[in-house]
């Protein structure tokens, strides 16, 4: 073997980089190995077309943990997050427009329903309180329910005690958030259809669920968690695209002494007596390591990188059972100008385009989009979340030009009736997205200079996201907390000693959060020190 490290991290996605930074910060000699030529994983900025730079996959910072921003001093390493203001939902001849300015939103809602305008306030306060209550769960190591040792339960017991002290109404709301569908939950508060559809949409992003599927209400909280972290500006677009976040973390990791190698695809994790001792690269090079952390998903790591026969059959079966089910795609457009929505024609200022533009006109619309996917087709009329980063960060395109990022759901990884994702289905999918937008912004088609369409298969092949799931595995109730990724193995360890998982397939899951990378690294460091 050529060289020896204390810790090897596989994959330089944001979680891998975060893990690398923490490991190096703890004094471990650390190397992060990345298959692609750039770091960032799904959080990358690439110049897809000359002069046009895109956040190719992940496009907003959702919940980057404030403790990570603080610990790694990310602002010093260049992290700058530009605010996104509001959500604009275009309709046939009207629109619904919510902005960060609470009173302005309430005035807008009054146009729709006085009752909703009133409820919005109460709802907002309640969600804020709930988010504050639940936030610690994002930093907890889930205990194994089958073990009797009480110590791993302490953090959860603390949360339970706090739960008991909550007012009765908050308790009931918490239970509902953990169990209800986003749509049912919102039905209790609101009657305005586009409002419910647009708010609920955040509950289904990246999952193979509809807004009426039980278990989707919880994600409504994420929005408010972001607000709590407001001082750190945890919501928004990173300057220079999402790659900006990755670069900041990579820079912090290097500053701590971590080495990062790109174009270094790992072929296999080396084991000896069911203990990880290093990795082999595609090139044949071997790298020895005291511990190995993989930010790849559980299937890629445990089935793809270990020599067959390393795992016992039962564990392997549980890994194979882990569900991915990618449900979304992405369309990136280079534009010669800005879309003009018929519901707000010739708008003088472009304020409504500075936030997100959400194609979520009604609960039925969202649900029909899901129905298509259930039977193996991409949605004829999908839910689309549009962001135009050039309006807040003009450096992303040549002067006067724009880039537009369209997150599209649903696009199932498995198509039915013998269809495959290929050039023809990819273009058909792209056309459906453009047509959907053009119905409400007819000038769009003429503005398109270039378009990049990413299907779930493209996400898998480019970014290593199995089955195109952007969260490294379905965020359904049975794959959360205790059971993520495998029941009994939610503590970042694996049955292979010294091999750890640190990606989104572990608690608390996906999104540009960094939490799995951080918690896994801290667990691994603790174990290394104990040894």
């Amino acid at each position: 073997m050529t060289e020896r490290y204390d810790a090897i991290v596989i994959g330089a996605g944001h979680n891998g980089l975060v893990a690398g930074a923490y490991l190096a910060g703890a004094g471990l000699k650390t190397i992060v190995l990345e298959r692609r030529h750039i770091v960032g994983g799904a959080a990358v900025t690439e110049e897809v077309f000359p002069g046009f730079r895109f956040s190719v996959a992940s496009y907003v910072v959702s919940l980057l943990r404030p403790e990570i921003i603080r610990d790694l001093e990310l602002p010093r390493h260049g992290l700058e997050i530009l605010p996104l203001d509001g959500t604009f939902t275009p309709l046939d001849d009207d629109y619904l427009w919510r902005v960060n300015d609470h009173w302005r939103t309430v005035r807008e809602l009054r146009r729709w329903s006085r009752m909703d305008a009133e409820a919005y306030e109460e709802y907002g306060q309640l969600m804020f309180d709930m988010a504050r209550f639940i936030k610690p769960i994002l930093s907890i190591v889930p205990p194994d329910p089958a073990r009797l040792d009480p110590r791993p339960w302490f953090p959860l017991a603390r949360l339970a005690r706090r739960f008991q002290k909550l007012p009765a109404r908050h308790q009931a709301t918490f239970i509902q958030l953990m169990t209800m569908s986003a749509s049912d939950f919102l039905d209790q508060w609101f009657e305005t259809d586009p409002l419910k559809a647009t708010m609920a949409a955040s509950g289904i992003i990246g999952t193979f669920q509809g807004i009426r599927s039980p278990g989707t209400a919880y994600v409504l909280l994420h929005h408010y968690m972001g607000e709590i972290d407001g001082a750190f500006r945890a919501w928004g677009i990173p300057k220079g695209g999402t790659g900006g976040v990755s670069h900041a973390i990579a820079s912090a990791a290097r500053a701590q002494g971590a080495e990062i190698r790109t174009e270094a695809p790992v072929a296999q994790i080396l084991t000896k007596g069911r203990r990880a001792i290093g990795v082999t690269l595609d090139s044949g090079e071997e790298i020895a390591g005291g511990i190995v952390l993989s930010s790849l998903d559980v299937r890629r790591t445990m089935i793809g990188l270990l020599e067959p026969g390393t795992l016992d059959a039962e564990f392997e079966q549980e890994v194979r059972r882990y569900k991915f089910r990618g449900s979304s795609g992405k369309v990136n457009l280079a534009l010669d100008g800005l879309p003009d929505f018929t519901c707000l024609p010739n708008a003088e200022d472009l304020e409504h385009l500075r936030g997100a533009v959400s194609f979520s006109p009604s609960v039925d619309y969202m649900e029909r989009a899901y129905d298509d996917a259930k039977y193996g087709s991409f949605s004829a009329r999908p839910y689309i979340d549009i962001v135009i980063p050039t309006l807040v960060d003009p450096s992303m395109a040549p002067p006067g030009k724009h880039v537009m990022s369209c997150f599209v759901q649903y696009a199932p990884y498995h198509l039915s009736n013998g269809r495959q994702w290929d050039d023809a289905t990819r273009e058909a999918f792209g056309d459906a997205v453009i047509e959907t937008i053009a119905e409400r912004a007819p000038n769009l088609e003429k503005l398109i200079l270039h378009r990049q369409v990413l299907t779930p298969l493209d996400l898998e092949q480019t970014f290593g996201l199995t089955e195109g799931n952007i969260f490294q595995g379905e965020l359904s109730l049975e794959q959360l907390f205790f059971s993520r990724p495998v029941p009994g193995w939610a503590q970042y360890r694996t049955p292979v000693k010294d091999l750890w998982l640190c990606g989104s397939a572990t608690h608390p899951g996906g999104g540009l959060m960094g939490a799995p990378g951080r918690i896994a690294a801290l667990q691994a460091i603790k174990a290394a020190r104990a040894a």
Binding site: P145, A168, I175, T179, K374, S476
Partner: protein, 534 residues
């Protein structure tokens, strides 16, 4: 007002109301049950839809009835005569094949070989898994959910007992239980079997009566709950009562009366009276008032809180929450009197032996999901999920010589229709069901002597089931256990001192189990004991 009121008044003589009343009377409480309809029994009713043809009006199987209830109330001495056919479920497929689930899982597994060797092997293991997981749920069902806010010593004790049962599942079992409970039933059966027909036949029990499709999270919990505390396993229970479900109602009423319960039919409660935060009794539509320190509601919590109780006494917050209780009814009933036994063209469909249990029209997961899809948009599915029984096969007394009765549960038929109203669509629904059956058993329409269609609106009007929901509340993950019907009100005590809930809207939920009734009685008696001691 009467000179001295009873110790307890039970509103509604459905099976749970009768069970609670019987337990209370056995403990020495002078108990009166008030029933709006002419007969006790609620959803347990036998209807004569043509001379000599007696059919289960609503519920048609009773295999979930708790054995403890049967034993405690000595229902056998009061005429209960259950019939458990060897066959549990027959599932004819549109392509002419069929599959049969038997009480004997080895027999089921043998027959499944024709479909898939893998599934044939997997079936006994799956059955074992369902039995093991649901046996733990039986413990949960029998216990009163804890008071999460201020757990008492008895809550801690109950918690320890549950923890012991939980650990009894073994390491693998405990992890598995937590994993599968919130799962979609389509995934639960999909992990075990590759045959879509088998998946559909089993998954159907996870969505029955629910406004959820097989891909909805939490439907596995519904399936497991259905097998809890009975011999259902993977195939599900199929138990009839000789004489029809009405005779079980008769046994329950007889058991209650023999313990001293007074049952008054035709007595509609229109108001629960209260003073401050205490109930004082009930008022009837006749104007009569009955005073009692204990009022137990067998009717659903939404109706109880929104139409019987003084809103000022319970406060706006609880009224708001009650208004948000989810009970979107999606089932209807079609009952048929037939001049002969229908013949199903699918394999084995001419063997009456296979038709003695439940007959499911649920040929695959997508079929069920598409039916659910229609209901989401307020439409009746053109391809409904049907669960039919022909109880006259096992109990010939229900029909004249040579004739038969068929009881068909139809899903999805949303109470909240976007277009048309149920009274105008009643015949259309009957026709749809016959058309669906005709495709599988050609000629069945010609055998029809009489037909009764009970729409979701009828369920509400005639049986008092709000929004036509037979379970008094959707069995979703958000309305279970310590939060059924609502967090803070899951311990059978509802809003006012002396007011209790004993119906399916309370833990452990709907179905002919007697569980909520038995649990509620236990809590009422505990409160009384606590008070006399204090």
């Amino acid at each position: 007002m009467t000179e001295r009121g009873p110790d307890a008044v039970v509103v509604g003589a459905g099976h749970n109301g009768l069970v609670t009343a019987a337990y209370l009377a056995r403990a020495g409480l002078r108990t009166v049950v008030l029933e709006r309809r002419d007969e006790p029994g609620g959803a347990l009713a036998t209807a004569e839809i043509a001379p000599g043809y007696r059919v289960p009006a609503l519920a048609h199987t009773v295999g979930r009835l708790w054995t403890s209830v049967v034993r405690d109330l000595r229902l056998h001495e009061h005429g209960l005569d259950p019939i458990a056919p060897e066959v549990r479920l027959f599932a004819p497929q549109p392509d002419g094949r069929s599959l049969t689930l038997w009480a004997d899982r080895a027999r089921t597994a043998r027959e499944l070989r024709g479909w898939s060797a893998r599934d044939s092997e997997a079936y006994p293991l799956f059955d074992q898994k369902v039995r093991s997981l649901s046996s733990f749920l039986a413990h949960v069902h029998a216990s009163t959910p804890p008071d999460l806010k201020k757990p008492s010593a008895s809550d801690a004790l109950a918690g320890l007992k549950l923890a012991r049962a939980f650990r009894g599942l073994g390491k693998k079992g405990t992890r598995e239980l937590l994993r599968v409970l919130p799962m979609a039933v389509a995934d639960f059966v999909g992990e075990a079997f590759e045959t879509d027909a088998l998946r559909g036949a089993i998954a159907a029990r996870g969505i029955q009566y629910a406004a959820m499709g097989p891909w909805s999270a939490g439907t596995t919990a519904v399936l497991l709950a259905d097998s809890a505390g009975n011999d259902g396993g993977a195939a599900g229970q199929t138990v009839f009562v000789r004489g029809g479900p009405g005779s079980l109602a008769g046994s329950l009423a007889s058991a209650a009366r023999s313990s001293g319960v007074e049952i008054r039919s035709g007595a509609e409660v229109v108001r629960v009276t209260s003073s401050g935060d205490r109930v004082t009794g009930v008022a009837l539509s006749s104007g009569e008032e009955i005073s009692s320190p204990i009022v137990v509601c067998g009717i659903d919590p939404k109706r109880t809180l929104l139409s019987l109780v003084d809103p000022a006494a319970v406060g706006p917050s609880l009224v708001w929450r009650a208004g948000n209780l989810r009970l979107p009814g999606v089932v209807a009933k079609v009952n048929l009197a037939l001049s002969g036994l229908p013949t199903f063209v699918a394999d084995g469909g001419a063997e009456s032996e296979r038709l003695k249990g439940r007959i499911a029209v649920a040929p695959g997961i997508d079929y069920l999901e598409r039916g659910f899809d229609a209901s989401k948009y307020g439409r009746v599915s053109e391809q409904p999920y049907l669960e039919a029984t022909i109880p006259s096969l096992a109990d010939p007394g229900l029909a004249p010589e040579g004739g038969h009765v068929m009881s068909v549960l139809v899903q999805w038929t949303p109470y909240h229709r976007r277009e048309g109203d149920w009274d105008a669509e009643r015949d259309g629904l009957g026709d749809l069901v016959l058309k669906t059956l005709d495709a599988l058993a050609p000629g069945i329409s010609d055998l029809v002597v009489a037909r009764q269609v009970i729409t979701p609106l009828d369920l509400e009007r005639d049986y008092g089931l709000t929004e036509g929901h037979p379970l008094h509340g959707e069995p979703g993950l958000d309305q279970l256990f310590a939060w059924r019907p609502m967090l803070g009100h899951s311990r059978y005590r509802l809003a006012l001192r002396g007011l209790y809930l004993c119906g399916s809207g309370a833990h452990p939920g709907g179905g002919v189990t007697g569980g909520p009734g038995a649990n509620a009685a236990r809590e009422i008696l505990a409160d009384r004991k606590g008070r006399s001691r204090g």
